[in-house]
Symmetry: D2
Subunit: 255 residues, 4 copies
């Protein structure tokens, strides 16, 4: 049952999609009419609501996808497709202890925190204070703050944690962090580096090889969306052609 | 510390990859020499071992990726990339209660069970007894059997569970199951159907529209792997061009 | 040497691209200043020109790519990538005699006429008079009109030509034309059908099988463009995810 | 009418594809029976033939695609998809004068020669004598030798031709040739460089920028093939994930 303060997803017939917080006595304005929150409170997620001008809206429970995609942005946020691939190919699971740097807008952090809860932990290092402030709001809204410990620190100065299961690098110069990451990561633990350019990938792979990472592989993920309508079955015209390269490697212990 | 009965990943320098069980006093044969398990027991994951002929092997802890990819096959198994996309875009998380049909070789089940533990549950319906037998072994090996309840039953006869968070369809005729799935799924819950052909997608989407599913979208996921070697940075020549289409939809409650 | 009435390509530093006709005494307005055609006449293609406000422009000779891409549009025009694939995989060459229907905006016609000249011919059937009018202008501008014979006729009423080397179908219901195309095509000649939806492809392939076409294959072409800048080597963010499916088949003679 | 010495394409029901020369009194052996050439001579292309064991074969006229794809290989040959894109995006047309280096197996040369005939010319530079020998046979078979002048020379020593319409580079170190190519190319002419690795692309683009090439763009072409069978409409499982990057640039004249 939807309560005051809960988040909802509103979808219009034109497939506009909003993530909004239910506030009793208040309204939400759209170009397809006004939504009164009082008509939502007390109902179960998954119903059809009419706006003030009679337009249909779906009221749904937000998914982790929505919290990622609708993150307030201080910087470029991760695509949910990449968060999905990173999570599975890094072997992240409930209970994982993970170092992440940088925090950015916290979008990838949301995806990670969603999986490692309730017993895991994300230790997230970020140097920019304004990023932290935005990310905290995003994590709060997703209800995941308790699983994330944010550190206002430069990763170059070292990590406090040791023996973590995974290290997730999403910053401009990942190759500089590799030796530091090696120390903090457990043996056989997986490091993931996410970078938009192939130059960054090359430098990072070189540093991983030098620093005793093995089973290094780099991939990118492309999603193609389809229109499935009567007599009109086809991929959509436009697609995301590139977001980032994902490079995975595993720490090997050397005597 | 690796113990008798643990699973390990062995990787040769040529990047062959095996998932094997450690058995004291026994050996594992490769074309690059023999591996003696007694040289592994008692060590920590993440070290370099030499075979009987002096070839290097990496001894790593298996990831969920490995349990999916190395599943024994009674039928076509899901690609890890698709399992990743399905999990995130369906909003699956620790604690989710999920109906899946069919079980098949249990590869997708492994990916789902890995995320919903320890408090969630997978209810998996499968008509073929030989599939169940293989899938059980795969789940056992991954240590995830306790989170999966397998039912040797035809999904067409209905599901026992109600109000589940997600329904995952991976069978030849998903469109026939949609009305049954609607009843078992919670309002605002997400149904996912995975099919190799576009004909199946069309029929399934039609059935979803007729059965009060909304926010229906179909996508496919392509992974491109890269070689990152000095003066040789390029995508690999061959790639998987197609596995399956993923169709997501959300149940809407109608009075 | 560029003369009055010649076409030129103008490219600004921001990579805007115009196809314009040189007219003595006149000017071309851009948001980066005014270009005076009199400063262009008498020069050779391939030089740098400054606009009235000192911005650099490249003055280049138009390629067939430009005439295709800059076609005036009465309807959706073909992408150059698809025109390229169609031309090669249909076996089109200087001297080919080709039936095309419909003409549309003439963009694909331009690509075909460019290859078959000087001894080949395109016979192009189109029912919409306003399409013909636009296409004629596009063909004139490209200097290719003499190689195209436009017929204001419904292809359903049959083709005048026989024994043509190729038939190119780019219309909404290609499957209706297949029996008619069979008659006009030479034995071992290639038919190509271009359609945006998979429904059209299915119907067309069925009709091709029924009408004695063999070696039928369907493909799509994706182009990925790259940014190659210092420390910024990466695919561009957005790409064209879909234009059309291309189905090729070869006529077999049956007794 | 098929004559002694003509080339034919033979396609079996399993879609095996051969390019063979018709020789009177001789036979062609396949795993689906023997084909007697005497049953082919005097017939028109595009008929169904039965082998000695009653299996059906299609006898078709070879397309330029076949001559490219079935080239004897001294080295990696170009994919027809890339030859198609190179031809159109370079603005190649009947009458073009083109320098190419290296010749390799002559597969790209075949695609180019097919378009520039009858009045154009390909000047092809190759240092390896054994490559030239193979390429000549491929060009002869395609009937295109008269349009190609092969030079057994190192392109680094300079080209004999000037003011050519296009320069096509398909060799290991294209960046070394750029200054030489600039001299031989007409103003506003297009240079194309084809390379498998991104490292080569970077060096080549840098050299192009330094040597007064403009409108530089890099792309790759992916072809996805589809199975269109009743109730089985889907992309094929495997696809070519990468062949080469194509970089285009236009010569600008500087005072």
């Amino acid at each position: 049952m939807i309560k005051e303060g809960d988040n909802i997803i509103l979808i219009s017939e034109r497939l506009n999609r909003w993530l909004v917080k239910v506030q009793s006595g208040k309204e939400f304005q759209t170009h397809k009419g006004i939504i009164k929150f009082d008509e939502i409170i007390g109902k179960d997620y998954g119903f059809i609501l009419e706006s003030s001008i009679g337009k249909k809206f779906y009221v749904l429970e937000p998914l982790i996808y929505d919290y990622i995609f609708k993150s307030k942005r201080s910087t470029q946020i991760i695509y949910p497709k990449d968060a999905a691939i990173i999570t599975l190919f890094s072997g992240i699971h409930p209970g994982s202890r993970i170092i992440e740097t940088g925090l950015g807008s916290g979008a990838l952090t949301i995806a990670l925190a969603n999986i490692i809860r309730p017993n895991g932990k994300i230790y997230s290092y970020e140097i920019k204070e304004d990023y932290i402030s935005v990310a905290k709001k995003n994590l709060d809204r997703a209800g995941l703050s308790e699983f994330v410990e944010i550190k206002h620190r430069d990763a170059l100065n070292g990590f406090d944690e040791t023996n973590v299961d995974n290290i997730i690098l999403d910053l401009a110069t990942p190759w500089l962090i590799i030796p530091i990451a090696y120390k903090a990561l457990k043996s056989s633990g997986v490091l993931l580096s996410y970078s938009p350019t192939i130059d960054q990938v090359q430098k990072t792979v070189n540093s991983m090889i030098e620093n005793n990472f093995v089973d290094i592989h780099t991939m990118e993920c492309l999603i193609r969306e389809w229109q499935i309508a009567p007599n009109k079955v086809r991929p959509f015209n436009r697609m995301v052609g590139h977001s980032g390269f994902m490079t995975f490697g595993t720490k090997i212990h050397v005597a």
